[in-house]
Amino acid sequence: MTDTAATPKIRMRGLKKAFGHKVVLDGLDLDVGEGESVVVIGGSGTGKSVMLKCILGLLKPDAGTIAVDGTNVLDLGTKDRDAVNSHIGMLFQGAALFDSLPVWENVAFGLLAEHRVNRAEARDIAITKLAQVGLSADVADLQPAELSGGMQKRVGLARAIAADPDIIFFDEPTTGLDPIMADVINDLIIKTTREVGATALSITHDMASARKIADRIAMLYQGRIIWAGPVSEIDSADNPFVDQFIHGRADGPIKMAVRA
């Protein structure tokens, strides 16, 4: 039992992924502790999403290991892999709601897929989860297309927590939202992850959001984690890359590839 306390929830070592000649991940190392909220920051196209997709098994890394609860998930067969994934919830950047299904079926989709509950129970659970993200039961029968961007994000969040996952991924949770709605989503992320006691791994380039939801921040640059530390230390990080990123300066060691 002492061992499990030391084992991080997610451990990535030497993760590499290239698409053709374009190297996206180049030896990424990152640990996410049990119950911790880690936010990975980094510019667009630095491989943040690729990292999440590798953990979920949507992409296969070229090299390296990913251990969830101490088991290397890259070696698992489809069945065991699915078992691991059923403990992971994910909020997608564009919410990725199924637009052929009403809101409540979206929320309860994972529960129905695993036959954990029948349809009547699933609907009740969906309404409870919607209430947790501040949506009333009225929206349960709407179609996703009828909702605003902020509401879609909330439904996406309700879907991510519906199966009471151990781990939740947030892919740019505040992108495309106004600052107030972004803060509402941040609050909901903190509240819901605490309620289910989940480990959270988020990726974002919104520093306000990162500061708010993170216990620990890690910065991804050129396929590696170049800095990681508690959120309180980020301002005194003494790392020119981190410094440039958190202050959003165009000048500095990070050169944006600007081409006509």
């Binding site: 059923s86 709601l97 199924f98």
Partner: protein, 258 residues
């Protein structure tokens, strides 16, 4: 200087890559059709979409095909005094060829395009990734039900097309060309063998798989937003139409040559 062999090689390699990917996709889709869980709700829903809602298109295509066939064969055969063969030509052409091929092409346009657009949009909006995170295999949930629905509903559609096509021929023959209704129907019935209809239905089943497979394959592999979905839709319809005509020849050769 550009090596003239380079583009040829590149096209050939791209072709091999696509062929390989399509083979793997087909194999994976086929195994998912057979292994549980089977999403019955999804299959029924697709059957309604692919089968029932295609009936107007298929029916209209078939009736005009049958009518024009009667008219054309009459003008041709009357030169040899062989007007009696009109019923024969209509029923054989419809059941063996025009029923399955025309219905297949029309439904390729209708269903191939909509499947590619729907699944392609799901791909670019990450809905397919979302399925995986919700313990659902997208091949099983999205692709397998559509293939099964195509396999089952296409023969039924073609059966309807056969009946309506023959009826179209009958209308023209009797009301325009002055055939005796009873004689026309007897001639139709006498010439028809079970093999004519069956071969058409087998073709239809194959075309059903081709259309749904092309729609799903191109949608599933679409990339890069609206433009990618547009390309996928075009490719689905074009490749399905060409494959239908290609397999039509192969199957006809298998059934009737020798």
């Amino acid at each position: 200087m550009i090596n003239p062999l380079q583009p040829i090689g590149r096209v050939f390699l791209a072709f091999l890559r696509t062929a390989g990917r399509l083979t793997l996709f087909t194999g994976s889709a086929a195994t998912h059709c057979l292994r549980p869980p089977i999403y019955t709700r999804m299959i029924l829903r697709q059957m309604v979409d692919i089968g029932y809602f295609s009936l107007p298109v298929v029916g209209l295509t078939a009736i005009f095909a049958g009518m024009v066939l009667a008219l054309q064969s009459y003008t041709g055969f009357s030169r040899f005094g062989a007007e009696g063969a009109v019923a024969n030509v209509v029923v054989l052409s419809i059941t063996r060829e025009l029923g399955p091929v025309l219905a297949g092409l029309m439904v390729a346009g209708r269903i191939g395009a909509s499947l590619a657009a729907e699944i392609g949009t799901m791909r670019v909006t990450e809905q397919i990734d979302a399925l995986t995170t919700l313990s659902t295999n997208p091949m099983k949930y999205l692709v397998a039900p559509r293939l099964i629905a195509g396999l089952v509903t296409f023969p039924l559609l073609v059966l309807v097309a056969d009946v309506i096509g023959v009826f179209g021929g009958y209308l023209v023959a009797v009301y325009k060309l002055g055939f005796n209704p009873a004689n026309y129907l007897t001639a139709t019935y006498d010439f028809l063998t079970a093999e004519d209809v069956n071969s058409g239905l087998v073709k239809a089943a194959v075309f059903g798989v081709i259309v749904t497979l092309m729609g799903c394959y191109h949608g599933y592999h679409s990339r890069g937003g609206a433009q990618g979905v547009g390309t996928a839709t075009t490719n689905a319809v074009v490749s399905a139409s060409i494959l239908i005509l290609c397999f039509d020849y192969i199957l006809t050769e298998l059934f009737f040559a020798a």
